[in-house]
């Protein structure tokens, strides 16, 4: 078995080593060919229609046979086309309402895909749970969902929020599973990580912000909320404390936004960079020895990070809600917050 595998690798590597320089010539040749072809044609035909392709070619040439950085960004950023590389691409519709661009982009499609998947699977789990009696062991999807729901409710929501945590469970559970499915969809081929887009994470963090503020108002009333902003300090310090506390209300969702977005983007940039190393060096050896093993490693890491970041987002949301709704009796919330600032 092993001998066969080694001979196969050798069969791949040896010709690559022998013709190490030939791909370089091939690519440059290909790049030059269209330019050379269009150049003589351009003056012959009408000048107006040629201007556009010429510009495109110029941009292409300026990009220097496509910079890896641009390609990576192209893969990570939102897009109006959904590319299935060798098979072609789907152009997504552009919609504009009242001056606002609400086009269906690649990330919107991924979000919808995640939403549909989540609704179908979770509803199936809910239906199967509804069917069975309480003292029956759960099976399959219901079992997976039940253990995760139990984890979120008993190990995340309950210790962080405390009394009255049941109200926030639907939000926390939806956030957790929504982020998890979005993260995982980014790991399948042709997929895109919607949670790697700062707009998406900003929206989710804004929901946490709204839930936090509303629950704080409900728990303390307007007077209690204002008192919360003074952090229980002497009135002379209010001029410093109040702005800091108000700023603190906004840094929390901001941290949530950046954490999720950066984590999801970074992993993809690393995987793509590892692949592009082999393209930059134009070597099969690097591809086999470095790019693929390291990319597989990072991929597995990403799989872990997908769960971890979904958990962290949910956990911190629960923590912020818990801090906001902490009752006057429990001043430990304030102390925790204060120690966080130092």
């Amino acid at each position: 078995m092993r001998k066969k595998a080694i001979s196969r690798i050798l069969a791949l590597v040896v010709p690559a080593l022998l013709s190490l320089n030939s791909p370089v010539f091939a690519t440059t040749g290909q790049n030059e060919a269209p330019v050379a072809a269009t150049a003589p044609v351009a003056p012959a035909s009408v000048e107006a229609p040629v201007a556009a392709p010429a510009e495109a070619e110029a941009a292409h040439a300026e990009g220097g046979e496509e910079k890896p950085g641009d390609l990576i960004m192209h893969h990570i950023l939102d897009n109006h086309t959904f590319a299935f590389e060798p098979f072609g691409e789907v152009h997504l519709p552009r919609i504009e309402v009242a001056g606002y661009d609400i086009s269906i982009t690649k990330h919107v499609v991924m979000i919808w895909l995640a939403a549909i998947l989540l609704i179908v699977i979770a509803s199936a789990a809910g239906a199967s749970v509804k069917k069975m009696s309480a003292n029956q062991a759960p099976k399959g999807v219901a079992n997976v969902f039940e253990s995760l729901v139990d984890f979120i409710s008993n190990d995340v929501a309950k210790p962080n929020i405390g009394h009255g945590y049941e109200k926030f469970l639907p939000y926390l559970l939806t956030v957790f599973f929504f982020i998890l499915v979005c993260n995982l969809l980014g790991l399948i081929p042709y997929g895109a990580t919607a949670t790697g887009n700062v707009n998406v994470t900003l929206t989710l963090a804004t929901f946490t912000f709204i839930v936090t503020q509303v629950s704080a108002f409900r728990a303390h009333g307007i007077v209690g909320y204002m008192k919360h902003l003074t952090a229980g300090t002497h009135w002379a310090l209010w001029i410093i404390m109040v702005p800091i506390e108000i700023l603190g209300q906004f840094t929390k969702p901001f941290a949530l936004t950046i954490r999720l977005f950066a984590n999801m983007t970074a992993g993809h940039i690393i995987i793509l960079s590892l692949f592009f190393i082999s393209f930059i060096l134009k070597s099969y050896i690097v591809a086999v020895a470095v790019s693929i093993p390291f990319a597989i490693f990072i991929y597995l890491l990403e799989l872990f990070v997908a769960f971890l970041q979904a958990f962290v987002f949910t956990m911190l949301s629960a923590l912020f809600i818990g801090l906001a709704t902490a009752h006057e009796g429990g001043h430990d919330g304030h102390e925790l917050e204060a120690s966080g600032h130092h």
Partner: protein, 175 residues
């Protein structure tokens, strides 16, 4: 480093996109509403129900354990009591037996003593009777011997003399 930073800024990694924000918010809210009804509701209520079931099962197990312990204690008490009772019975039985034995031996002693006494008396009586018989026999034999002796030495003349003497004597005494 510098180039990657420029790529980040130029590439629009942080570009705001109101359309995406709108769609994300809409989608998320729809998912939240649907899943609250179809998934989280039943799963959470089932979890709560199961938690309650487990709690009640634990409570029941505790009460059963307490009950079993009390029963065990009762049993142990009963066993101890039974042991004590048995000990007492054995002790009493032993006492009774000892007493009985003592009585019996006493009685046996008495009996034997009585028997010995009666035997002795009988022996005495027998001895006396034997002595009487012996004495009679001896007397008879002596009489028979004396008779034989007398018979051999007795003759008429002497008899007459004796009788005469006797008559004389009687006559003299009557006077």
């Amino acid at each position: 480093m510098l180039t990657s930073g420029i790529i980040l800024l130029e590439g629009g990694l942080l570009n705001p996109n109101p359309g995406l924000i709108f769609w994300t918010a809409l989608t998320f809210l729809i998912v939240l509403v649907i899943l609250s009804k179809t998934a989280w509701g039943p799963i959470l209520s089932m979890l709560e129900e199961r938690a309650k079931g487990i709690q009640s099962a634990i409570d029941r197990a505790h009460t059963a354990k307490d009950e079993a312990e009390s029963i065990l204690k009762k049993n142990r008490d009963l066993l101890a009591k039974a042991d004590a009772e048995a000990d007492k019975i054995i002790r009493e039985a032993k006492e009774v037996a000892d007493k009985l034995r003592a009585d019996l031996t006493e009685k046996a002693h008495d009996e034997s003593r009585k028997m010995i006494a009666s035997a002795k008396e009988e022996i005495e009586q027998e001895k006396r009777r034997a002595l009487d018989v012996l004495r009679n026999e001896v007397a008879d034999m002596a009489v028979k011997g004396a008779e034989k002796i007398i018979r051999t030495t007795l003759d008429a003349d002497k008899q007459k003399v004796v009788v005469n003497d006797m008559i004389k004597e009687m006559a003299s005494s009557r006077n």
